[in-house]
Amino acid sequence: MFLVYAMLATAILTGPLAAAQFRAGDVQITKAWARATPGASKSAAAYLTLRNTGRRIDRLVGLTTPVARRVAVHGTRMQGNVMQMYSIASVELRPGKTVVLRSGGMHVMLTGLKQILRKGATFPLTLRFAKAGAVEIRVSDSGIGAMGPASLHGANHGKKRC
């Protein structure tokens, strides 16, 4: 009987109900999500959370994906009430620290989009770290005006208030 429970527990923890987690060396990547794009859109924004569980500084130095020709990390800065975006060459990950790419802050910008991102679908994104190496993660598509990743309990009705 215990074996059944153990198998059930494993299935639950590694199945679709588990929050998607990826790892490259000491870097943990979670909550990777993107907004769905309107048809014929050439750009998309994606977000993720990076945690450096190791003892050395690392950096996210490159991103590639088959669904877009160009991927970059952008930052957002407010100059009074004017919003400015700028390119970020690499994202520093200090030991023990978590860096969250979120709406209104740093985000992944995909341009030269080759396909429509549909809510509920996922797409592969390869992250390259200076020390931890590369890892391919899967990014989940939420609604077009979503404020966060789709909840595990069903569709994100856009009611998230962040």
């Binding site: 907004r35 794009t37 309107p38 048809g39 014929a40 859109s41 050439k42 750009s43 998309a44 924004a45 020709r69 160009r70 970059a72 952008h74 957002t76 800065r77 407010m78 100059q79 009074g80 009430n81 004017v82 919003m83 400015q84 975006m85 700028y86 390119s87 709406s103 209104g104 985000h107 910008m109 341009t111 030269g112 077009i144 005006g145 979503a146 404020m147 856009g158 009611k159 208030r161």
Partner: protein
């Protein structure tokens, strides 16, 4: 109208001096209250504009029948804040319930080069069903933005992928004011909301302006 005076009154300061948002205002003297007061004191912001809607039809403020417009200036290539601002507008209208009929949601593009009526039509359909997208010639957009004191500009980025081409040249980002304006039926601004105000704050303030109807009439 002195936009500079208005801007100074609104407390525009470099980002490094901004304290974190807590209850919907950046700090007491940077809330929308000074703006609303400036407006009621006789400062005129906003007003009539002449643009083209997402069906390709020319429109002016007179063409909107609702007593209030809720306007956000942005561009569709921006996949971060502009989408969330329009979603916030959508949620606000839902929360307003029957009062929502008094408010016309409007998205004005500061990127008429890329945001044609067709592109806007494809975009606005993803948000509130009554959301109207507006674009026009560069001159029309410039005139409308100027009336609202909205700043916008292209950010020229060096491409890191070797030679620039038509495709990457069309991938410019834009800097722009990220304020949402609540106006009367004539387009004159009645209240202004910064990007990060909490939904509860936004709802309460909008209700106050449109709910009892007094705010709008006194300020004509």
């Amino acid at each position: 109208m002195s936009v500079a005076a208005f801007a100074a009154g609104f407390g525009l300061r470099p980002a490094s001096e901004q304290p974190t948002l807590q209850d919907g205002t950046v700090s007491a003297d940077r809330s929308s209250a000074p703006a609303a007061k400036a407006v009621s004191d006789g400062l005129s912001l906003g007003g009539d504009f002449s643009l083209v809607d997402h069906t390709g039809r020319p429109v002016t403020t007179a063409d909107f029948t609702a007593p209030h417009l809720l306007i956000f200036f942005g561009y569709t290539f921006c996949r971060d804040v502009c989408s969330t601002e329009l979603q916030r507008m959508n949620l606000l209208l839902e929360d307003l319930g029957p009062l929502a009929a008094k408010v016309q949601p409007v998205f004005i593009s500061v990127d008429p080069e890329r945001d044609t009526a067709k592109v806007l039509a494809n975009y606005v359909g993803n948000f509130h069903p009554r959301l109207v997208g507006l674009t026009g010639t560069s001159a029309q957009v410039r005139a409308a933005a100027k009336k609202f004191g909205v700043y916008y500009g292209k950010l020229v980025q060096k491409t890191t992928h070797g030679e620039g081409d038509a495709e990457t040249d069309a991938e410019y980002l834009m800097n722009h004011s990220s304020l949402t304006f609540l106006t009367g039926t004539d387009g004159r601004v009645l209240d202004i909301f910064q990007r990060d105000v909490r939904p509860e704050f936004l709802l309460e303030r909008v209700r106050r302006v449109i709910g009892d109807g007094k705010g709008g009439e006194d300020r004509r």
